[in-house]
């Protein structure tokens, strides 16, 4: 039966099994491939999205949970995500780039919830995301930078 999935403000009509993980509905059915598969078991955060603003591992959340809710992915845009993108650019953060969609979404949720996150706050949110290339120190620095950019812009 067809249902609507709302992603980044756009509605997609899809016909899927209710128990298909949201990740695969987004990637294979809707066709937005920016959200990545890393582990399938909520361990690496590559598949991170926001559902009604809440940071969620889409690999482990059935698509049915997201019907009627607003999903935010790396293809989207929000003020905090844009500050983060700018900071990521400035810090030349990514290496292979694969995990960075999830890193940026996780960091967006952090900035949405916390005005001036401390190192500890950053560790708490971002330690759910694995970067096999090991760009952690740059990510942390870039999150602080994004906050600074945001504060400058006000």
């Amino acid at each position: 039966m067809s249902k609507n999935l709302s992603i980044n403000g756009k509605s997609y009509t899809i016909d899927v099994q209710d128990d298909m993980p949201l990740l695969w509905a987004i990637r294979d059915i809707v066709g937005l491939t920016g959200t990545k598969f890393g582990c399938g078991v909520s361990q690496c955060g590559a598949c991170s999205v926001l559902i009604d603003g809440t940071l969620t591992k889409s690999c482990s959340m059935p698509v049915s949970y997201a019907f009627g809710k607003e999903i935010f992915t790396i293809e989207g845009s929000s003020p905090n995500l844009e500050f983060l993108r700018e900071a990521w650019n400035e810090g030349n953060v990514p290496q292979c780039g694969y995990c960075q969609s999830g890193q940026l979404i996780a960091a967006t949720s952090l900035l949405d919830a916390t005005e001036n996150p401390t190192d500890k706050d950053i560790d708490a949110t971002m330690s759910s995301n694995i970067c096999r290339c090991g760009t952690y120190t740059r990510i942390k620095k870039a999150i602080h930078k994004a906050v600074a950019l945001k504060n400058e812009s006000i």
């Binding site: 491939t33 078991v41 292979c96 694969y98 960075q100």
Partner: protein, 737 residues
């Protein structure tokens, strides 16, 4: 290899039957000089790597795979620098797998080392032709013109012409003789040796970079394969009833193992394949298969028992390796003190964030593949071999790699995709689950090492005996290879930097019961761990400062190993160590429960010295600080090199703390990131990277050399903090994390 060839117009017309376009060139950086780039109307493409358009935009071809090492940016910057191009006009295009681009095998930390000079020449040739074009327009001599920031400038009149406006004229010119091409002086570099941000930042931060797993072809299917838990086991029988009923599953069938010919290629493991209309359905279908396996001869393999076997073997005399010198037995006899230790490294796996995957479309006598491969030419040749399709009818498109670390050098997943596409007569993407990746890889070998050293009354090392045993990479190409090979021993064992007159290296038997492959830094992980741990033990026994002890052991300035075109220079080794000691304030007072550890290692022709500071509180280790110095010769892109070294510190830390693949009844016991763990942000140390200024030296490796130092530096720091010596990785086995 970088000679630029001119092919005259008539040859081109004859070869391709095209009459349009300007100059046509081949450049025999390639091994196949018959491949030429057809001229596209309105562009100037003096060689395979440079295409200049009328609007001034320049497309540069990246011949090596991008897996996070920043190679697309690095290679492009070398061309752009010599071309005097404005960076904002540069875009980078990924080359398909084809010998016309020269060797494309992206491993061994060799891309910049081997390609900097030819890429510079590509840029310089294009620049020379733009200058000639401008000089003709102005009717002045070429010597009166120079190029700067995307313009050719007339020295006498200061008139300037935009590169794009010279395209038409330049395309009519003949290629200048290679001997006339002038390269820039180091002092004049604009991009080389500076910092350039990745050309792919925008794609990476917007989720628009296409990795292998993101490839979408109309009407493509998705596939998962259930492979035998035991290496090289086969399907006895299977029941697909439940799998076939899984919504989205379209076909289930057996896939036979493709055995590579001796000496080359990787083949495919085979198993039971599930074809579906989405990835999840394929995964679900695979989970619900009931398969009975013929486990085969690797069924009895047990990694714990194997560790014991190797440990027993290195207690006995092994095969003496050439390069051994002096008489260690006499040295031990006459010693004031001897020290012995045995070290172990377990099997390891790469676990790149993007799992192995490939998309293939097998059509009549034609194959097209889209895949995250480090070595597209081998993948292409392998497909030609297994599917008996002419090489020229096989296209291997190289996507972004979501990490490689050596795993994606092995194209077994590409072979699988093509075999599936051939069978179902449709394009298909095979995706490994993370469990597949952890359990069916080409593993970094396990190793055991026994070391014995002797000290004289002054605390000088007089003898060094090292017995090593680890399954060889060669076993993946030649079954029954039961001893580590010379090229493996030459990764830090035969060529350690120590000046010891009695040195004996012995090689003990180690058979392979898993597919053995190479992982970032390869055998240097073993040699770096054994050598640096043992030097630290000797320093302690000699009651000497570890840094000074290392320096003394390296000894006088000399060429340690001069066979290659990159002589191994003891002075440079000492220089990185001295720098790291200085920036880390080695010798300073550190807090209680903290410890410092040092390690040095030479790999991929680069010199690295690292000092690690740990704290050990309630028997838990935290890596607090990492100071690393690298001398990689000419540093092409400084910030990128720093990023690589930061990443290598984390990679090395992950393997030291958590890295362990264990095998019971022939099957890998780990599954996913919950039992094959990675360092995470909360545990990431502060990392300080220094790059030695060596712009007049040739560039050497960057991607790998930062890894081997980490495990020994951490273990040495733990010893410094606690007096507890860790000789067997990983630390998690000792409850230390």
């Amino acid at each position: 290899m970088s000679k630029i060839q001119q092919i005259n117009r008539r040859d081109f017309v004859k070869l391709f039957g095209l009459a349009t376009g300007g100059i046509i060139l081949g450049c025999n950086i390639s091994s196949d000089s018959k491949d030429f780039i057809p001229q596209i109307e309105g562009t100037f493409a003096p060689n395979l790597f440079v295409q200049i358009q009328k609007d001034g935009n320049i497309i540069l071809m990246a011949s090596r795979s991008e897996m996070g090492q920043g190679i697309r940016t690095s290679l492009a910057s070398a061309i752009a620098d010599e071309l005097e191009a404005d960076w904002k006009f540069i875009t980078v295009q990924q080359a398909t797998g084809n010998a016309k681009y020269g060797n494309q095998n992206t491993d061994g930390s060799r891309s910049v080392r081997t390609l900097l000079a030819p890429m510079r020449k590509m840029g310089a040739t294009a620049k020379a032709m733009l200058i000639t074009a401008a000089s003709k327009k102005w009717k002045v001599s070429e010597a009166d013109c120079f190029a700067e920031n995307h313009f050719v400038i007339n020295k006498n009149t200061s008139e300037k012409i935009f590169f794009g406006d010279l395209v038409e004229e330049a395309a009519k010119l003949t290629i200048p003789d290679e001997a006339t091409i002038q390269l820039k002086k180091v002092e004049d570099f604009k991009y080389i040796g500076k910092t350039l941000k990745s050309v792919d930042l925008k794609a990476f931060t917007h989720g628009t970079a296409t990795y292998g797993i993101d490839v979408r072809i109309p009407n493509m299917k998705f596939a998962a394969i259930a492979r035998c838990p035991v290496t090289f086991g086969s399907v006895k029988s299977f029941n697909a009833n439940a799998a076939e009923k899984t919504p989205g599953v379209e076909k289930v069938f057996q896939l036979d193992r493709l055995v590579p010919p001796t000496g080359s290629f990787f083949g495919a493991l085979g198993g039971v394949a599930v074809i579906a209309n989405n990835t999840w359905a394929a995964f679900q279908g695979k989970e619900s298969l009931e398969i009975e396996w013929n486990y085969g001869e690797n069924h009895s393999f047990d990694s714990e028992k194997f560790k014991q076997t190797l440990t027993n073997r290195i207690k006995e005399k092994g095969k003496l390796v050439p390069g051994s010198t002096g008489k260690v037995d006499d040295a031990f006899e006459e010693a004031a003190k001897t020290v012995e230790a045995t070290y172990h490294v377990p099997f390891l796996v790469h676990a790149p964030m993007e799992v192995p995957n490939a998309t293939a479309w097998f059509q009549k006598n034609k194959i097209e593949v889209w895949a995250p491969v480090q070595d597209p030419q081998t993948a292409r040749a392998e497909l030609a071999h297994f599917f008996e399709i002419p090489l020229e009818n096989i296209t291997v498109n190289v996507t972004f790699l979501g990490g490689g670390f050596g795993r994606k050098s092995k194209s077994d997943f590409v072979v699988e995709a093509v075999a599936l596409s051939k069978k179902i007569k449709a394009p298909v993407q095979v995706v490994w689950t993370r469990e597949d990746d952890i359990q069916h890889s080409f593993y970094h070998a396990t190793s055991a090492q026994y070391l014995k050293g002797s000290l004289d009354t002054n605390g000088q090392v007089t003898g060094w005996l090292q017995r090593v045993a680890f399954p060889s990479i060669v076993s993946s190409f030649k079954p029954l290879s039961e001893y580590a090979s010379g090229f493996e021993l030459n990764q830090g064992f035969t060529n350690n930097p120590y000046n010891i007159s009695n040195f004996s290296l012995e090689n003990a038997k180690a058979e392979a019961n898993l597919r053995i492959g190479w992982m970032r830094s390869v055998v240097h992980i073993h040699s770096g761990f054994g050598n640096n741990s043992f030097v630290d033990e000797l320093a302690f026994a000699a009651k000497k400062d570890a840094v000074q002890f290392h320096l003394d052991l390296i000894g006088a300035d000399r060429v340690i190993e001069g066979r290659s075109e990159f002589p191994y220079d003891s002075k440079r080794m000492k220089a990185v160590l001295k720098n790291t000691a200085k920036v880390s304030n080695w010798g300073k007072t550190i807090p209680e429960n903290h410890g410092l550890g040092v390690a040095i290692h030479y790999s991929f022709y680069s010199y690295v010295a690292t000092i690690v500071e740990v704290s050990v509180i309630n028997e838990k280790v935290k890596v607090e600080n990492v100071w690393t110095t690298i001398d990689c010769g000419l540093a092409l892109n400084k910030d990128n090199i720093k990023n690589q070294l930061e990443g290598a510190a984390i990679f090395g830390m992950s393997l030291a703390l958590y890295g362990k693949i264990s095998v019971k009844e022939g099957a890998v016991e780990q599954h996913n990131y919950y039992d094959y763990e990675m360092t995470r942000m909360k545990d990431a140390p502060k990392i300080h990277v220094d790059i030695i200024e060596a712009m007049h030296e040739r560039p050497t490796g960057v991607g790998e050399p930062g890894v081997p130092v980490m495990a020994p530096a951490i273990c040495n720091a733990i010893f410094n903090a606690t007096g507890k010596r860790i000789r067997s990785l990983p630390l998690v086995d000792f409850g230390l994390v």
